[in-house]
Amino acid sequence: MSETVSSDKLLREFAPQIEHTGKYGKLWIGFLIVVICYGWFALYWQVSRGHIVTGMRDNVVWGVYIVNFIFFMGISYAGALISGTLHLFHAEWRKPIIRMAEFITIISLLIGPCFIMLCVGRLDRLPNLILFGRIQSPITWDVIAISTDIIGCILFLYLALLRDLGKMRDFKELKVPQWQKKMYKILALGYTGTPEQQLMLKKATDVMAGMVIAIAIIVYSVLAWIFSVTLQPGWHSTIFGPYFVIAAVYSGTGVLIVSMYFFRKVYHLENHITLQHFVNVGVIMLVLGAFFGYFTFSEYLTKWYGSEKNDEQLIQVLLKNYFNLFILSNYVGVLAPLIVVGFKKLRTINNITIAAGIVVIALWLNRYLIVVPTLETPYLPIQDDREAWLHYSATWVEWALTAAGVAMFCLLFTIGSKLIPIVQVSDLKEDPEQPGDIHLM
């Protein structure tokens, strides 16, 4: 194993993103903070007035919050499965993009669980989950799985950061405040790149890459089982575990491509992240998209063909009240990457990014269509005179907190990129060559 040598020249190239934040950068951060404050106000509103200020009622007891929870947990797979798998397969081209993937993982893993808490009627009683936890409940499985996942992913990211932290510590020209230099020194744990240290680091990273993949699959399956262990017609499905895992990685690749696009633009990484990177991740997205389409198709085909009374009711509601969303999430969301990446002529950075953006939105809608219409069609018909009890529609409180979640994601991503280079400097060569076509093995 040979460590790619990077000179101070490379570090110099990345120093500006860490040393300065430009006018637009500051405006961006300010904007995000305003959105987050709006979210805090919405949270205050909800806590002080009760959950009545949301669109949730006795039938649709889970709404946009749970959708966001599944969504953020889903994109956290970008790091876990993509960087884990690519690491184990020694795909060389992964190097400039895995840090982004790992950042996405950690940040979304921290934000996701916040959304499930917004759904909880008595936040003050959250300690009960530990004090009186019952192992029979899928929510307890979730608590255990997610907390394991967070620790595992933080370790994996940290191991990957270690060499760069050492480099930052040794890079004397860096003009950053004293505390930041001190931080690099402490966090680098005395890593200097001796052969012994390199070997240890490689072994640890290999183990963690494998672990992170396994934990990620477990976490998402458990999340799916929260729905599929119940008897609800739209949820009681045997394929929910693998379906959710595929959907999660799929949305993860989408978010990865979108963030590659923005970081490439903002930090001028055109030399390191090229069209080929977009195509390679795009191909992974295409394969996952095909799988996702296949799972979605078999899920709805069996429900529709067998047409058991309650399944039929659900399909009717989906195709009547949610027709546009259904088409957008389950057709456009599958076909967009298939077409854009499938035809060589269409493979441009812009096209692939647009397809990825569509995938991200489609997958959010996919979760919405799994959660809400099912709850709107229970076994016993909903007979109510109150419109809110019949149909769910999210209120400004829920949208404000959703926006705050997205803003928080962007803010943490931005701050992360200000503390450590957004591409792994120690892995890069000074004159990057075009990466080869995708080959995982």
Partner: protein, 320 residues
């Protein structure tokens, strides 16, 4: 004939009496200390049997005033297995069960533990009124999925909720296939009453938690029927003990097994495997035409049924 009637009467009296004694036993051992402040003794002593088999003398006032606490409520009433039978042939949507239940449980108007549906199984079959309490299933999904043990199954078959422990995750509400559970979405003035909380009473309600029909074990302890059963003017709702094989609606008493056998009793959505403890008698030989149930209701109640195929049909006919 006369013999049978006598037997019926006897078993009913037994049921009521046993209910009182068993209930009093638990109250006496569990909650006497907690209600020390209630010094208003009536002077009237009552002999009760405690759970450990001892006979005790307790002042009458303690029996009615002391609610069963959160810990004691986990134990069922000894030797009981409660069951409910709902006779759909007699229901005409008078809604007294709903109203009395709301009053008894201090519920706001928009929260119903007992709900009455207008059901029609398929296009050509006859519509009927369908009162639906909690089914207190023997295989309760809601209990399985609760992450904190706030909802639990007792030895007497009752599924209760501890509103002081519930975190309000609402998983049980998605777990229940019968849409039985209700959530306290906002603070309600009905919840602000000066009364010690008891899961057996589900009073006072707690904002941000889940609640539902509790089969009124506090009433059973006093030898009384649940609010819904005693309020129904048609005697639709029978309540009783499946082991003792007796159910009563307050005026008539039946052997449970015979009633179910002779009237083809069934459980709703049996195929789900939840094993409910509420049985229905099919709506045959009805005492009222179904449209009588739409008479004399508040507009907001009638509006509920506007989307049912039956009411839509009625309105179409009127329009013609």
């Amino acid at each position: 004939m006369e013999n049978k009637k006598k037997e019926d009467n006897n078993s009913r009296r037994n049921f009521l009496k046993l209910g009182l004694l068993a209930g009093a036993g638990t109250v006496a051992t569990g909650a006497l200390i907690a209600t020390g402040k209630n010094s208003g003794e009536s002077g009237e002593k009552i002999k009760v049997l405690t759970t450990s088999g001892e006979v005790m003398e307790v002042d009458k006032n303690f029996l009615t005033q002391a609610p069963v606490g959160r810990v004691e409520s986990h134990e069922g009433i000894p030797g009981r297995k409660f069951v409910m039978v709902i006779d759909l042939a007699k229901c005409k949507n008078a809604r007294k069960c709903v109203e009395e239940c709301q009053k008894g449980h201090n519920l706001p108007k928009d929260q119903e533990f007992m709900k009455v549906y207008l059901m029609q199984d398929s296009e050509k079959t006859a519509p009927y009124w369908f009162p639906k309490p909690c089914y207190h299933c023997d295989n309760p999904q809601c209990v399985s999925v609760c992450p904190v043990g706030a909802t639990y199954k007792r030895s007497d078959g009752i599924v209760l909720i501890d509103n002081e422990r519930c975190i309000g995750c609402k998983f049980c509400m998605t777990g229940c296939p019968y849409s039985t559970r209700v959530f306290a979405w906002k603070p309600n003035e009905e919840y602000d009453i000066d009364q010690a909380y008891s899961p057996e009473k589900s009073v006072p309600g707690v904002e941000g938690t889940v609640s539902k029909c509790d089969f009124c074990p506090d009433m059973a302890r006093e030898g009384k029927l649940p609010y819904c059963a005693s309020a129904c003017p048609m005697g639709v709702i029978y309540f009783g003990d499946i082991d003792e094989d007796v159910v009563t609606n307050g005026t008539e008493t039946f052997k449970f097994s015979e009633l179910i056998r002779d009237r083809s009793g069934y459980r709703y959505l049996e195929n789900l495997g939840t094993r409910p403890n509420v049985y229905y008698l099919p709506p045959v030989d009805r005492q009222f035409p179904v449209e009588r149930g739409l008479d004399g209701l508040d507009e907001e109640i009638t509006k509920r049924f506007d989307n049912t195929p039956y009411v839509k049909n009625l309105k179409n006919k009127e329009a013609k």
